[in-house]
Amino acid sequence: MALDKNQIAQRIAKELEHNSYVNLGIGIPTLVANYIPKGIDIEFQSENGVLGMGPFPFEGEEDPDMINAGKQTITTLDGAVLFDSATSFAMIRGQHVQLTVLGAMEVSENGDIANWKIPGKMVKGMGGAMDLVASADNIIVAMMHTNRAGESKILKECTLPITGVNCVKKVVTNLAVLEVTEKGFKLLERAPSVSVDEIISATKADLIIDGEVPEMNI
């Protein structure tokens, strides 16, 4: 069975390392915060100027001066800190944030990512994505394996304007976990009951398959 969005987030949560600073993008990445494994301490950074982001506020306690990068109302946890946008991107560009989880429209086998523009159709802007992908040590993409038209978002080369080059380290989709290696995508895990053949036929890039491919443990 292919994973749903929450299960993709749950699988990515297993990648979180103890005592690390993490930036979560909009969409599926935001859900990762719901699945932090026990014993793992994480501080979430939001690029609009907060470190130590907490859950959504209780009804009636929303504060217009306390939002995340998706403009959603949030709370802060003990030890949180607030800062301006230049300081925020100093944390990001200066590689003080260890992990970035982002959504994407396309990822290519050399680790390029496209997620900010569909020429002539959708131009919303890159927000902080270009700064994040240019600098983060570890970038994991969370996305569906195919787009609404059923076409693979995993490609040999991106067709859309790219956000960054050679930056994605891992991709977790509803079908598979892929690692970006120097030789291309390596299939690390498959979704429960999804066969390797099904993944190959849903993917428009070569996959490196090394022996038995285990099922994801969700």
């Binding site: 100027g49 209780f58 009804e59 217009p64 403009k71 927000g127």
Partner: protein
């Protein structure tokens, strides 16, 4: 003490002219200078270039100036919240420079700090890098970005004193301190204006030297763009 107080928004906007470049603080609708935007949207001032992370929504924030077609060019990082904006951009009525958010912040900071340009890795290999000088540092390619300045910077703070010192609240800080530094005339509107001496100098975020005019703001709506809550157990 140098007194920076102006009595009303009309005085704060004295000198605003057609075809000027403005910086406008805020992230989404959080921390935007509501009083300045509302007053500008009633003035006959057109052909503006606005440097602001976002472009408001259709009926609030910079959306008010877009609706009256007062803006000829926007310099932003993300504009996805505004249908009128998207329409004007796709039809070519509005010029738009989309730039990475960290680059935008740093270009404002650099403009205020007397640094004319800097190299950043953000945007290398993308459309953003087209026509820009590339240099390798520590084995990694970087692109040259230039500083931004503005004729006016409009910022919003939580508290301010008569000397122009500012304290921000929560994530409403965002671009405000950086833009305050980069305006030829920086207009700060505050929720609470206090006499100089009342704010603890240790706690001030923006020193008054960056602020030319300060005023007590009024009628803040502080609209929430995405209200998200959780249930009490």
């Amino acid at each position: 003490m140098i007194n920076k107080v102006v009595d009303n928004i009309e005085k704060a906007l004295e000198g605003v002219e057609n075809n000027m470049t403005f910086m406008v603080g805020g992230f989404g609708l959080s921390g935007i200078p509501e009083n300045a935007i509302a007053a500008l949207s009633k003035m006959d001032v057109f052909g503006l270039t606005c440097i602001s992370n976002n472009a408001g929504v259709d009926d609030f924030g910079l959306g008010l100036l877009l609706k009256r077609k007062q803006i000829k060019k926007m310099i932003s990082s993300y504009v996805g919240e505004n249908a009128e904006f998207e329409r004007q951009m796709l039809s070519g009525e509005l010029k738009v420079d989309l730039i990475p958010q960290g680059t935008l912040a740093e270009r404002c900071r650099a403009g205020g700090a007397g640094i004319p340009a800097f190299f950043t890795p953000a945007g290398y290999g993308t459309e953003v890098a087209e026509g820009k000088e590339v240099r390798e540092y520590k084995g990694k390619p970087h692109i040259l970005e230039t500083a931004l300045n503005a004729d006016f910077a409009f910022v919003k703070a939580w508290k301010g004193d008569t000397a122009g010192n500012l304290i921000f609240k929560g994530t409403a800080r965002n671009f405000n301190p950086l833009m305050a530094m980069a305006g030829k005339i920086t207009v700060a509107e505050v929720e609470e204006l206090v006499p100089a001496g009342e704010l603890d100098p240790n706690q001030i975020h923006t020193p008054g030297i960056f602020v030319q005019r300060i005023l007590q703001g009024e009628k803040y709506e502080k609209r929430i763009e995405q209200k998200t809550t959780r249930k009490r157990n």
